[in-house]
């Protein structure tokens, strides 16, 4: 497919120089803001004091990691993170896939594009904004509770109860993202050969059967790819969202790794301990990303990176 280019060899050197010039400015920023912090992780093995810096602070080995394993907080935080992240991934994907299938059935152009315009919108709004929207709706006297009360269910303290807080987090995230996430699935559906559907319809296959045996299998590669990509974010349950909706009452059920590191490490200024938790989190996240990449490569031939 590719034709060999005939380029004078002595040209390569000067070209290379251009390409270095193209890359180096960006690399400098990466080195400062991505790689320096990685070296800064050495503080996880120190009792880091900002005034003394990385070189002056005392090394304490694995002290912070041992401390981390002894803290009851950590188990709670990891559990919350996993439950919330897996819940978001699972329900988010189900709804996005279902929505894409349903939307594909709509023939009225105007209705279809109007609904698309609306459901994509929340994805582009900040959690700062959407949390305010959610607080207005879900507070004890908010519209949702008024509706619940009027149909006889009674009020639910969505924002202040450890029984429902995680469901609120998962639900509002699914609400925000299902529209935008449906885009890839919709693209996958439109890529399915329509003659398959026609043939199945002639053979008497019902709509459900066609969805189940043609549409869903046709989407399977993209579903697997998205699952793998989503699983890489299983340790980040969404700092922005949780931070803007939680309060000390629901730390028990809603505190996640990122909010914990922020509160203990930055606000509480336990820099080294926070960095240790962060390092453990990053290491596991990296491992998962590499694994997911291998898996999707093996299963679908597509790679995440």
């Amino acid at each position: 497919m590719k034709t060999k280019t005939l380029k004078p060899i002595n040209n390569t050197g000067s070209q290379s120089r251009f390409f270095h010039l193209f890359v180096v400015p960006g690399m400098i920023f990466l080195l400062i803001f991505n790689y320096l912090p990685m070296f800064g992780l050495v503080m996880a093995f120190q009792d880091f004091v900002p005034a003394k810096g990385f070189f002056g602070s005392k090394f304490v080995g694995l002290k912070h990691f041992q401390y981390m394993l002894q803290l009851p907080d950590i188990g709670r935080v990891i559990r919350n993170t996993l439950i919330i992240a897996v819940g978001k991934i699972f329900f988010g994907m189900i709804l996005a896939i279902a929505f894409a299938i349903l939307l594909n059935e709509i023939r009225m152009k105007f209705l279809k594009s109007t609904v698309q315009t609306i459901v994509y919108l929340p994805h582009f709004l900040s959690w700062v904004v959407l949390a305010a929207v959610a607080v207005n709706l879900f507070n004890l006297d908010g519209s949702v509770n008024q509706i619940l009360a009027s149909i006889g269910i009674g009020k639910i303290n969505f924002l202040g109860s450890n029984q429902v807080f995680r469901k609120l987090i998962i639900g509002t995230d699914v609400w925000k993202e299902f529209g935008y996430n449906s885009v890839v699935y919709l693209a996958a559906i439109t890529g399915i050969d329509p003659s398959l559907h026609e043939a199945a319809a002639i053979d008497g296959a019902s709509w459900w059967k066609r969805i189940w045996h043609i549409t869903i299998p046709g989407m399977l590669p993209i579903i697997m790819l998205m699952t793998a990509m989503n699983l890489t974010s299983v340790l980040s349950a969404g700092f922005d969202q949780v931070y803007n909706l939680y309060s000390p009452i629901v730390y028990e059920s809603g505190d996640v790794l990122d909010t914990y590191v922020y509160r203990i490490g930055l606000v509480g200024r336990q820099y080294s301990f926070g960095a240790a938790v962060g390092l453990a989190r990053s290491a596991v996240a990296t491992l998962m990303m590499v694994t997911a990449n291998h898996l999707t490569d093996r299963l679908t031939g597509q790679r995440i990176y």
């Binding site: 290379s16 390409f19 609904v115 207005n136 299902f178």
Partner: protein, 297 residues
């Protein structure tokens, strides 16, 4: 029998339409609610009477915002930040991703750079070491703390790379034969071809930096330096403090005159307007970006 099938198909179709419309409304109504609150009288808001239409219609909250200097200061900080971040992103990402599409025969250290890029995507130092680096560079409380750490969005680099790879090689070669150097090829051949994907990464950049509140929260120590989303985020906390400390009487008078909730709602609405203005472009380019962004190296 055919008739029967036709009926069930019609019913199914009706149900599908209904579900899709309901899902659309579920996305829309909460947003309408906050707009309605922003236009409602404070008594109605405090009593949680506002649904989808304003109660005791008033534009008092908006006229209040007009003279709110901190709001506009934060708004301005965000505008400057968005513009600078966008410029920096484009200047760094476009040449970098073009160079990264070269083969090692043309660009000898290409793989070294690529590995640096991928590793930075896979692993990061995390919140606290990054904070310490930004702090040690003396960037705290300056707008640069909001801009420089996100100077090279790696996802955008990969997206641009994929796009550049799709541009027919012949276009470049024609320019090279004419004696163009790589910079000229990039500026006069590749960039004009890559306009859609440049639009895509630009919009990612704009939306991301407009919506981000976290950098402002950790890198800015004074409210006067907050970008707009950090400022709005801080409002709810201020309200709590106000109630706890039963603050000065003048502040309490303000509350009774205009509940913070409809004032805040109005601020939120104004803060979202810039995004709504570019929303048609977001739909056009980010949706296409999403489908081509199934990232491949």
């Amino acid at each position: 029998m055919i008739d029967n099938k036709g009926t069930s198909a019609r019913i199914r179709n009706a149900i599908i339409h209904l579900i899709v419309i309901i899902l659309g409304l579920i996305c829309l109504l909460p947003l309408i609610n906050i707009v309605a609150i922003s236009f409602s009288g404070s008594a109605a808001v405090t009593a949680n009477k506002v649904g989808l239409l304003p109660v005791d219609f008033t534009t008092l909250a908006y006229s209040r915002i007009v003279s709110d200097s901190q709001f506009w200061r934060s708004f301005g900080i965000s505008v400057i930040r968005v513009v600078l971040t966008l410029a920096l992103n484009l200047v760094l990402v476009i040449p970098m991703s073009y160079a990264m599409t070269r083969k090692t025969s043309e660009f000898r250290f290409r793989n070294v750079y690529m590995n640096l890029l991928i590793f930075a995507m896979l692993f990061n130092g995390g919140m606290i070491p990054t904070y310490i680096v930004v702090k040690n560079l003396g960037l705290l409380n300056t707008i640069w703390a909001l801009i420089l750490p996100g100077a090279v969005p790696i996802f955008s680099v990969i997206l641009m790379m994929n796009f550049f790879k799709g541009i027919p090689r012949a276009l470049e070669e024609a320019a090279i034969v004419d004696g163009a150097n790589p910079l000229q090829v990039l500026l006069h051949v590749m960039v004009p071809c890559a306009k859609p994907s440049i639009a895509t990464i630009s919009l990612f950049s704009v939306v991301g930096s407009w919506n981000d509140f976290f950098s402002g929260l950790i890198y800015m120590q004074k409210v006067k330096d907050y970008p707009i989303m950090t400022y709005i985020q801080s409002l709810s906390i201020d309200l709590q403090e106000l109630v706890n400390n039963a603050a000065s009487s003048s502040a309490l008078e303000n509350i009774s005159e205009l509940s913070n909730r409809n004032l805040n709602a109005a601020k939120i609405v104004v803060a979202v307007i810039p995004l709504l203005l570019i929303y048609p472009f977001l739909q056009k380019y980010l949706i296409s970006g999403m489908t081509m962004g199934a990232v491949k190296e």
